[in-house]
């Protein structure tokens, strides 16, 4: 069982068995689902209110489809846990957080001190995403950030 790092308030993470996207469609009581790189995260949108955990699998760290999947879910208002699993490396965590991930269960354990260092390293961001960070252009112009 991979070690879990959670950034969620209180550090609590769902301990639920995640089912495949295909199985999820047929199980109206399932609350945790795992999506693979080629799958369409939008299929979950009608069911967001009953989902507590979405696991996004990264079979290989170079396959970036999971970043889009995460952002799509957050843009649609998903507020549950969004967990990156698989080949997740510490140098990717900041981008993942910016795309909406809030927990990590990588195949290779993460060094907690390093996680803290990489998350604190950058003083800002140029893009508006779903993480609530006020983008640099908004700071320059005092644009309210909704």
């Amino acid at each position: 069982m991979p070690e879990l790092h959670s950034l969620r308030d209180g550090g609590e993470a769902a301990e639920l068995p995640a089912v495949t996207l295909e199985a999820f469609a047929g199980q109206s009581n399932a609350t945790a689902v795992r999506i693979e790189p080629g799958e369409d995260a939008r299929e979950l949108l009608p069911h967001l209110d009953r989902i507590a955990l979405v696991e996004v699998n990264f079979p290989s760290f170079g396959d970036g489809r999971g970043y889009s999947a995460a952002r799509i879910l957050r843009e649609a208002g998903y507020a549950g846990e969004l967990r990156a699993v698989g080949d997740v490396l510490v140098d990717q965590i900041r981008h993942m957080v910016r795309c909406g991930f809030d927990s990590f269960a990588p195949d290779q354990p993460l060094d907690s001190a390093l996680v803290e260092a990489v998350l604190g390293r950058f003083p800002g961001a140029y893009q508006k995403t779903v993480d609530g960070i006020v983008p640099i252009w908004a700071k320059r112009h005092g644009v309210s950030h909704g």
Binding site: Y67, S68, R71, E75, H95, R121, I136
Partner: protein, 543 residues
């Protein structure tokens, strides 16, 4: 020129610290080479045949004298006293030690420069028109949008692990000096009903499957360009092929889906994304644009140039282009001396160009995709003195857009991907046509050489293109004719069987002979090729 504010500086400084830490972890063995590779690539660091190669970003090709001097300093201190200006308007150094890379990035950051995303499967340096802001035919200066997009694309969290690299170009005139439609996304700024916006082309590129980008949208208002590009990139990130590196560029996705289906998916994504507040306000574009305000030109200057010196006159007629302000001219500095390496400059030459920019061109230089340097605002009265100074440093070659103004990739002399050498072929061709009178007689003739199918030397877009391949262990060169990277964009066609190293030089000469024998008044090489077709060339080449 754009100047960093405290936010920009803090981001670049953080990047230096991050890479210093990553390099330390690599050197300590905490990161495997496989894990480190994408991290170093995103800072422009490649492992080449003999050493690490570092590619430094020159956003949209524009830099100050101070920044140019730093490039010379890096060449002197960390490399072998020279640098290589690239077709992406960047500079690269071929002999870098990994342990020095963090210090080099720190030196760059001290003059508002970086190597962020000059490699890797992410959005690369944004390219643009080297005559931006000074040519009479532009609807607006394209660089403010290019800078806005530089910031937007820097550390983009969703688009850093794309299927493949991603290149964006912004121009603002009908004349295309930047090969705009041969980019993953080409943006042409246009005016519609008095409003400026972006015409978007997606899915162009060279490489082993060259494609000219189709138009995907005729107009995106300035205030929605970022969210539209986010939609374009998201469709690519989700649906671009990842099973085969050679089919992973967006051009393959657009081609396989068809432009209409790709457009429909983008529009669907855009409909939602434009409501998310992703676009900076127009005030941000205006803030950036203020940095690109015209320099304080003098008025009442004379347009007269004393052309009594023949060599000077030849240089003026070839290298100097009209400027929109009376009394000023655009000067192209050739980095293609006969027998030299296209795009290479020594640290002394780089320093001199910085000095000359400071003295004669409001302290600003541009790098062109054809691997030359532009001083964009020179008083015509200063041209003789500027020419003298360039001549003393072997920088006054008069060959802009002529046959010896060759684009060439580094080829097998440096590159681990190459199948054949490019540089010696470029040198031999330039020597064959060394006579300036002969080159001018041939007129505009863009010759481009790639040492492998990846096409870094833009051979598909050459009026004459040369592709080096490996044929059973022997370097062999294919000849292509009729390509263009300009507004009349076209892909070259292969003439037939390839040639050996000396044979390709002869073949190029034969092709020019066919042109000279067939051209009509005012026709360029590419015009004649288009009119008479391949047959007469084939006949001469394979007789």
């Amino acid at each position: 020129m754009y100047a960093y504010d405290q936010y920009d500086q803090a981001m670049v400084d953080a990047r230096v610290a991050e890479f210093r830490d990553q390099t330390a972890r690599r050197l300590a063995g905490q990161l495997t080479e496989d894990q480190f590779k994408p991290l170093r690539l995103m800072n422009g660091l490649y492992l080449q045949l003999h050493a690490y190669m570092l590619r430094v970003a020159i956003p949209y090709g524009t830099l100050s004298g101070r920044q140019m001097r730093m490039l010379a300093h890096i060449a002197r201190k960390y490399d072998r006293d020279y640098g290589h200006f690239t077709t992406r308007q960047n500079i690269q150094y071929n002999w870098i030690r990994l342990a020095d890379a963090p210090d080099i990035l720190a030196d760059l950051a001290s003059v508002e420069m970086h190597a962020i995303q000059t490699s890797g499967n992410c959005i690369r340096n944004i390219s643009s028109d080297q005559y931006a802001g000074v040519s009479a035919d532009e609807v607006t200066d394209p660089r403010p949008l290019a800078e806005l997009l530089r910031q937007w694309s820097s550390f983009h969290p969703e688009f850093t692990y794309l299927p493949r690299k991603f290149k964006i170009c912004v121009i603002a005139s009908e004349q295309d000096r930047a090969a705009m439609r041969l980019h993953d996304i080409g943006i042409e700024l246009v005016k519609k009903d008095g409003e400026i916006g972006a015409r978007i082309f997606v899915g162009g590129g060279m490489g082993r499957t060259p494609m000219v980008a189709p138009e995907i949208r005729d107009f995106v208002p300035f205030g929605q360009v970022v969210s539209y590009l986010e939609a374009c990139l998201r469709v690519y990130n989700r649906y671009g092929r990842r099973d085969n590196k050679y089919k992973a560029r967006i051009k393959i996705l657009v081609h396989e889906l068809g432009a209409d289906e790709y457009r429909a998916r983008v529009e669907q994504e855009f409909a939602q994304m434009k409501t998310l507040g992703l676009d900076p306000p127009l005030a941000e574009l205006e803030r950036i644009a203020a940095h690109f305000a015209p320099p304080p030109y003098e008025t009442g200057l004379s347009d007269a140039i004393d052309l009594s010196d023949r060599d000077f006159a030849q240089w003026v007629s070839t290298q100097v282009k009209p400027h929109k302000v009376p009394g000023y001219a655009i000067v192209n500095i050739s980095l293609k001396p006969i027998g030299g390496i296209p795009g290479d400059a020594s640290s002394a030459q780089i320093d001199l160009m910085a000095d000359l920019a400071e003295r004669y061109s409001f302290d600003e230089l541009r790098v062109t995709h054809a691997q030359n340097i532009v001083l964009a605002h020179v008083r015509k009265a200063d041209l003789p003195a500027l020419w003298k100074a360039l001549e003393g440093a072997d920088l006054a070659t008069a060959n802009l857009d002529l046959i010896s103004d060759i684009i060439a990739c580094p080829g097998l002399d440096y590159c681990s991907l190459a199948n054949a050498r490019s540089i010696p072929v470029a040198q031999k061709i330039a020597q064959r046509f060394a006579d300036v009178g002969r080159q001018q007689e041939l007129g505009e003739l863009k010759l481009k050489i790639s040492g492998c199918i990846n096409a870094c030397g833009h051979h598909h877009a050459g009026n004459i293109g040369i592709l080096g391949v490996d044929r059973k262990g022997v370097e062999n060169y294919q000849l292509l004719l009729g390509g263009s990277g300009a507004e009349d964009v076209a892909l070259g066609q292969i003439t037939g069987p390839g040639f050996d190293e000396d044979g390709i030089v002869d073949a190029v000469e034969k092709a020019t002979d066919v042109y000279l024998a067939n051209r009509t008044e005012g026709e360029r090489f590419v015009d004649t090729f288009r009119r008479i077709g391949m047959a007469p060339f084939k006949e001469a080449l394979y007789a």
